[in-house]
Symmetry: C2
Subunit: 300 residues, 2 copies
């Protein structure tokens, strides 16, 4: 059986590879690493980049263990047993408003050899939605998913639509992607097949982001577009602080606060009652921030 | 007995008076008003200023009624009856980082003539804590409270310390002030005495802010101080989106979102792991963001 140590090692390597690729993409910024230890057991490697094109990016690895806090055990419907959890988490905020914000997470949780699961996903939050990018992104994810199980993409695409939703704004955080949790060993799956899928998701990050970055990073942008980017980042903050379960989990369990909140954008604005002009690119974007668009089924 | 209509009218006048004073203080900005109606009953007057010194300020009045949503009825331990609620809510974000953010709220809630209460408070969030300002502010609040009941200040000051606390940062939002809720007609109080106190709190806003504004608004500031202001505003956002009950209540009950989130600052930054220099003004401020400082008992 694949041991937690194998998964941990693979996640560490994934972090290394992604950091290397992102430094190459940025061409200037270098990741700064903070090693941290968790008082209850384990720790992590937080890596932050402030580059010429990636304004603020975090690529975090952690592997923690200990006694499951009662509150979380209850929420997960588990006994307050010893747990192990490891994962890689990424959020990148670009300088150029035409390049989207990207988020990826892959994680593994284990109580014992019978009680374990994988979770994760990739989703994209464009400041300006480009339909060809959205189609590319969803089709890429679909091809990754389809190699592992035909149900994965439709299920996990919908899961992302439902999860990355800002209820009080009645809009999605971005154009979605895939989100999954509690992929366990039931229904004919096992650690090997589940891990294989999670590895494919992790490996999809660099080609996806490279494409979205290269396609958009040379576009010029105006002050107005930069301002719109800062307003959209405000929505990102609203989602992460009000709804995101990972963030809430971290705040509730007194995790390393700077690693949890590395996802928050560098420069953000809130203005009162901004209404994009009729027919503007901003209005077009806003109209596309809805659930259940079949991006993968479109041809552009 | 003082009727809800009397309280409503007084709150409206308070909004008018405060807006007038703030326009005079700013010298340039004018409040823009949005009238809105609540589908379930009632509505409000949202007023926003973007001035030369007040970068973003909101002074909101609302008076709403209808059937108490079940979720809220449960939280308040009340039957799902007809309710009435009115209040004035203020948040001001100044341009100058030496001027503090100020927040005030006064509100009245009623089910029937036996089930009602007042709530509210004033608190201040300096980007840079000046001890003489903190002493002035707390002594002023103490003098307002002491005219009504000797227990008010100690009780409501502690309530503010406990309420305006960012647990995940282990720091207070600012230097506190007073916070109170459920001031009802029990223990020898009645509507008249409770309303009298709330009126005094409402009337304290202009003299308090005028003093804090005039004392600090002429100070020059550097780019570094402006950046620190934006980082401190980030903490303000964290508090309001993660902990503030009024905000949560508004988001949960699908209130008018732009009026609820008018409290969020105009321009905000999150940087990774900022640690103020030893002996800096920023470090001094951070050390003073703790509970239970007896500002009113100090002499400066």
């Amino acid at each position: 059986m694949i041991q937690k140590e194998n998964i941990t090692d693979w996640f560490k390597e994934l972090q290394d590879n992604i950091c290397q690729s992102l430094e190459a993409l940025d061409g200037q910024g270098k990741f700064q690493e903070d090693l941290w230890e968790r008082p209850g057991g384990g720790g992590g490697r937080t890596r932050i980049i402030e580059g010429q094109f990636i304004q603020k990016g975090g690529v975090n690895f952690s592997a923690v263990h200990g006694l499951l806090p009662e509150k979380i055990a209850k929420a997960l419907q588990l006994p307050a047993a010893q747990f192990f959890a490891t994962g890689v988490s990424i959020v990148l905020h670009p300088v150029n408003p035409h390049v989207p914000i990207i988020h990826m997470n892959v994680r593994f949780f284990e109580i014992d050899e019978n009680t374990w699961w994988f979770g994760g996903g990739i989703d994209v939050t464009p400041h300006y939605v480009y339909e060809s990018d959205a189609v590319f992104f969803h089709q890429y994810l679909k091809s990754v998913c389809d190699k592992h199980h035909e149900n994965y993409f439709p299920k996990f695409k919908k899961w992302a639509d439902d999860y990355f939703y800002i209820k009080h704004r009645n809009e999605t955080r971005g154009i979605g992607g895939i989100f999954f949790d509690r992929l366990d060993g039931k229904d004919g799956f096992n650690r090997k097949t589940r891990f294989g899928f999670v590895q494919s998701v992790g490996e999809a990050f660099v080609p996806i982001y490279t494409q979205l970055f290269n396609k958009n990073n040379n576009k010029t942008y105006s002050k107005k577009e930069k301002e719109w980017q800062q307003l959209r980042r405000g929505r990102y903050v609203e989602f992460n602080l009000v709804y995101d379960k990972g963030t809430k989990f971290g705040l509730d369990t007194a995790g390393r606060i700077e690693s949890i909140l590395m996802s928050l954008p560098p420069m953000v604005q809130w203005q009162y009652n901004v209404i994009p002009g009729q027919g503007s690119a901003e209005e077009k974007t806003q109209k596309l921030l809805v659930k259940d668009i079949d991006w993968a089924g479109k041809t552009i």
